[in-house]
Amino acid sequence: MIRIANGQGFWGDSLEAPVNQVRRGPIDYLTLDYLAEITMSILQKQRSRDPRAGYARDFVEMIARVLPDLVERRIRVIANAGGVNPAACRDAVLGVAKRQGIDIRVATVAGDDIMDRLDQLIQRGIELRNMDTGEPLSAIRAQVQSANVYFGAFPVADALARGAQIVITGRCTDTGLAMAPMIHEFGWKADDWDKLAAGTIAGHTVECGAQCTGGNCQVDWDTIPDMADIGYPIIEAEPDGTFAITKHAGTGGRVTVASIKEQLLYEMGDPHEYITPDCVADFTTIHLEQTGADRVRFSGIRGRPATEFYKVSISYSAGFKAIGSLVYAWPDAYKKARAADQILRQRLERLGLRFEAMRSEFVGANGCHGIAAAEPSPEVEPQLAEVVLRFGVRSENRAAVERFTKELAPLVLNGPPVVTGLGGGRPKVEEIVAYWPALIPKHEVTPEVGVWPNEN
């Protein structure tokens, strides 16, 4: 049995979680996810300004904190912290090790970045059509900011086989980060579909960190113990593809069949075919069993052969937006917020401003659930303590969005009464970087695995 811990559910997750996973109980592997779909474009911009940037710096700081513990406890680390510059991330980590006087082997998995090959691919008839809309990439080619293939678990397993203690990848599936140790330790083959499906589902369960150990859990949420010290998930994986999900003893949170089921359904599409580069996993075959306190066992998982394609994550600039808000207080808070919304719309109209999208929400009345929540009842409505008018616009035209940002503040003095909430100043104009999912035949791209200090 091997223990694979998740210490980071997304870039921006708890800085203490990976440290706790390393120090507060036994684990063999620590996996960390730093890349959201949009993150790559931010990192691409950083690299264009500085050739040594373009990776998750939080990761390097985390390694600096725990490197002696990692070595002493023989824990190996796998992270997609490389972003668009895995080599620079590797050099930063090797620099930390050198300063601490520790010898380590660091691997990178690269080759996922196809930005420089886009035109050539399109010319050869690989259209990189948007998986949702069917449009070919040529429609937005000029706006593309980054393009990265999602690799699976096998290149990472290769890096582990070559002795790496820390594996830094570029774009790689979250599930692949967690499954790679199973492939490496148990010798799973590329056509062990049931085992690969099990490893993939283990990875999916832990990929959002504490969201499977009691975080964001709806069942008896107010009795979940010590949420302030919530434990992050650990996979206890067996060679036959069965596994248990647990957390370190003495940490807060709760691992139950209910908390696990909620995470299994997160971002779920067709449960019969959860497609990764490694296999197609069938979520309708999962058997769950509570086998102890904070321990849920998985068995029975079946999988099918992988597809011939990798998914590509492409980011492109898609205009500008700005969102601002005003807070209206009792009495008649909702009525005032609605009146302000109408006044604002009339003023934007008089200015002749055109937007691709314009949206108002009334936070405190029905902002989250919209029409499903319906209108507040006539008894409740005038008594609401406050309602936030949240107003946003989107346009290709930056000047129009900029002009909108100057129309919110005047409403404090020249609109409905008892209003506040401008502490943050005018809303900021944001450049929108949107996401374009596509597919590419697997034979078009090859993962590049390297280990440093150089094996030769």
């Binding site: 949009i38 964001n216 997160y266 970087v433």
Partner: protein
């Protein structure tokens, strides 16, 4: 038949894939699952999210988990960074669906 709020019978989690939201609902007791299958149809979910879900609703059954998964296409104002919504990832759609009233004789 007695009317019950779905939240008495199920818990849920929701998320996004581009402009599509997914809402998974899970029976709080095994005997509630057939009620969910009978009552919470794709058509009813589409109707429940009228004005929010502009595309089709697909339903998938997971009897092994006592769960149903719904895909609500064109429901996130363009999705991701394009959306102007406070909840562009549909993270609160889980309990939006649990507001639904269904027929449930005895619980």
């Amino acid at each position: 038949m007695a009317k019950r709020k779905l939240i008495e019978l199920a818990h849920a989690r929701s998320g996004d894939k581009g402009d599509t939201a997914n809402v998974g609902i899970i029976a709080r007791k095994p005997e509630y699952y057939p009620i969910l299958v009978r009552e919470v149809t794709a058509e009813r979910v589409k109707q429940h999210f009228a004005g929010i879900c502009k595309g089709k609703v697909e339903r998938f059954e997971l009897p092994n988990l006592g769960a149903l998964n719904f895909l609500l296409h064109e429901s996130l104002d363009g999705g991701g960074t394009l959306a102007l919504k406070a909840d562009p990832q549909g993270k609160t759609y889980s309990t939006a669906l649990l507001r639904m009233e269904i027929d449930a004789d005895s619980l």
